[in-house]
């Protein structure tokens, strides 16, 4: 009886990612990374049945992979600007106000490490909700200042004016340790919950800037029995989640 086994760290991460799309309605859930993908599919199968999902190429698919629509890149970019999307992107660097970098590390003119490039982060972040997924929470990722702003953070959007803030929102950041959000007066990053088995001190030590800490930090919620069964038997029987976030 797999249901009797307690949830693993990776499973808490799947749950925390899935909850990002709760209440989103009929929008495209665009997950980057294994655990956000499992989370989006879990949300689609349970509490957010109207979500749209893609096969990672040009096809919109139902929960069992059946075709329900066509979304090639140019239509995908149009959908982005129309706002009917909530992406969960990765981040090589992320700062206190949610500025994200996936372009390069070091001086942009001659980087120490060239990464992907800005990709769609600038257009995503000023057009629809953008959450982030960080599989290894560390001070290398959570930095005081990102080297290149790709995804726009709250302070940068405010400085750029109304056309940047109009549709800008960063609902949450999920990591292997915790869930973070920006529900603070100045939109500084706050520790929203820690996954069971993680301490607040651990998260603080793994973060390269001061986090806003509520008086009491709750635990990330428990999966329901139905959710656990779906993750283990239907959505991820091969255990992709454990390869992205190994057992603590």
């Amino acid at each position: 009886m797999t249901e009797t086994l307690p949830a693993t760290r990776a499973e808490y991460c799947v749950i925390a990612c899935a909850d990002a799309w709760r209440g989103n309605g009929e929008v495209l859930a665009s997950p980057m990374g294994a655990i956000p993908s499992l989370g989006a599919r879990l949300a689609r199968r349970t509490f957010s049945p109207d979500l749209l999902l893609t096969d990672g190429e040009a096809v919109l698919v139902g929960p069992d992979g059946q075709t329900e629509g066509w979304l090639p890149y140019r239509q995908h970019l149009a959908l982005v600007t129309g706002g009917k999307r909530h992406v969960m992107m990765g981040a090589s660097q992320l700062d206190r106000f949610g500025n994200q970098n996936i372009s390069c590390i070091g001086d942009w003119r001659r980087p120490d490490r060239q990464l992907l490039g800005v990709r769609g982060a600038p257009v995503n972040s000023v057009n629809h909700p953008v959450s982030y997924w960080v599989p290894r929470h560390s001070p290398r990722v959570f930095v005081a200042k990102v080297d290149m702003i790709c995804g726009v953070g709250y302070d940068s959007a405010a400085a750029a004016g109304p056309s940047a803030t109009r549709y800008h929102r960063i609902p949450r950041v999920v990591t292997d340790l915790a869930v973070l959000d920006f529900e603070t007066p100045d939109r500084a990053m706050r520790l929203a919950s820690v996954h069971p088995g993680v301490t607040v001190g651990q998260v603080r030590d793994a973060t390269g800037f001061p986090l806003v800490l509520p008086d009491e930090v709750p635990h990330t919620r428990e999966p329901t029995a139905v959710e656990l069964r779906l993750i283990r038997e239907v959505i991820d029987p091969e255990g992709r989640r454990d390869r992205e976030v190994p057992a603590a």
């Binding site: 190429e57 040009a58 096809v59 066509w70 090639p72 890149y73 140019r74 970019l77 982005v80 600007t81 372009s103 390069c104 942009w108 003119r109 001659r110 980087p111 120490d112 490490r113 060239q114 990464l115 992907l116 490039g117 800005v118 990709r119 769609g120 982060a121 600038p122 257009v123 972040s125 000023v126 057009n127 290149m148 702003i149 790709c150 995804g151 726009v152 940068s156 959007a157 400085a159 750029a160 004016g161 109304p162 056309s163 940047a164 109009r166 549709y167 800008h168």
Partner: protein
């Protein structure tokens, strides 16, 4: 009607150093690789390359042919980071105009529509504005008075694209799931060269919505089976993952000597075939 068929090397012979060159496809998908290889055999250099970058960018960067790159990324898809692009960037080997994916698309559209720019809600608030100090904003003349980025037209001297089927006049058909932006590349360029997996004499009446590239935007047509190799060109062939891995892990001089030093595209395919035999 004009027969526009030519060889990959005919195409390279029509390109000149210093040109602005658009390359179709996306990442490591349906790239006009046979035309890029012909370019590598030629002496053409000092290029401004406009691309949703994949190994086209990696190859040209490794060979030192790029003066300036306009791109939102360079990736091999199944291998996220393009190693030769990375290496070239880390030694500041070329100038980079790094723009967002949507800004790039609006640049293509502006060029295709003969507009100087198009307004886009992207870039603003990000460091795309910092690293491209030439980018300007535009204020809406209507009541909203929003400030948006004025993405300049990405007009090009020549475009290179690869499709599944084409006729001798330059009409091109794609059979995969995504058109990418290949028609826009052709419309945004003064000249455009289309390579195809297979030349055909006509198209079935049921093909209408897959007839992507129009002949009035095309200068030359090249039949090159496996012309997208090692990138994907579904359903004709998928990405050659084993070969892509070889490309990504072999030191550049060694790779270039073994696969790119022959006199034509046929010698490339023979070298790939010989390598594959060794793997059996």
């Amino acid at each position: 009607m004009t027969d526009k068929t030519m060889t990959p090397d005919d195409v390279a012979a029509r390109l000149r150093s210093g040109m602005t060159l658009g390359i179709g496809g996306w990442g490591s998908r349906r790239k006009p690789m046979a035309l890029v290889r012909a370019l590598l055999r030629s002496g053409v250099t000092d290029l401004t390359v406009i691309s949703y970058g994949g190994p086209d960018v990696g190859l040209l960067a490794a060979a030192g042919r790029i003066r300036k790159l306009v791109a939102p990324f360079a990736t091999l898809d199944s291998i996220p980071l393009e190693p030769h692009f990375r290496a070239a960037r880390q030694r500041a080997a070329f100038e980079l105009t790094e723009v967002d994916e949507a800004m790039f698309m609006w640049g293509l559209r502006a060029a295709a529509h003969r507009l100087p720019f198009l307004p886009v809600r992207a870039g603003i608030g990000s460091d795309v504005m910092r690293v491209n100090p030439g980018l300007r904003t535009v204020t809406s003349p209507y009541e909203d008075e929003e400030t948006l980025v004025a993405m300049p037209a990405l007009r090009m001297d020549a475009a290179l694209v690869h499709v599944n089927r084409a006729d001798r006049q330059g009409n091109g058909r794609y059979l995969g799931p995504d058109p990418y932006f290949d028609d826009l590349f052709c419309e945004a360029a003064d000249t455009a060269y289309v390579s195809c997996e297979k030349l055909v004499d006509g198209f079935p009446a049921t093909a209408l919505q897959t007839l992507l590239v129009k002949r009035h935007t095309v200068t030359g047509v090249v039949e090159t089976p496996y012309g997208a190799h090692f990138t994907s060109c579904v359903p004709d062939h998928g990405r050659d993952e084993a070969f892509q891995k070889l490309y990504a892990t072999t030191p550049w001089p060694e790779f270039a000597e073994r696969f790119l030093s022959g006199p034509d595209e046929k010698s490339y395919l023979s070298a790939v075939h010989a390598w594959r035999e060794e793997q059996r």
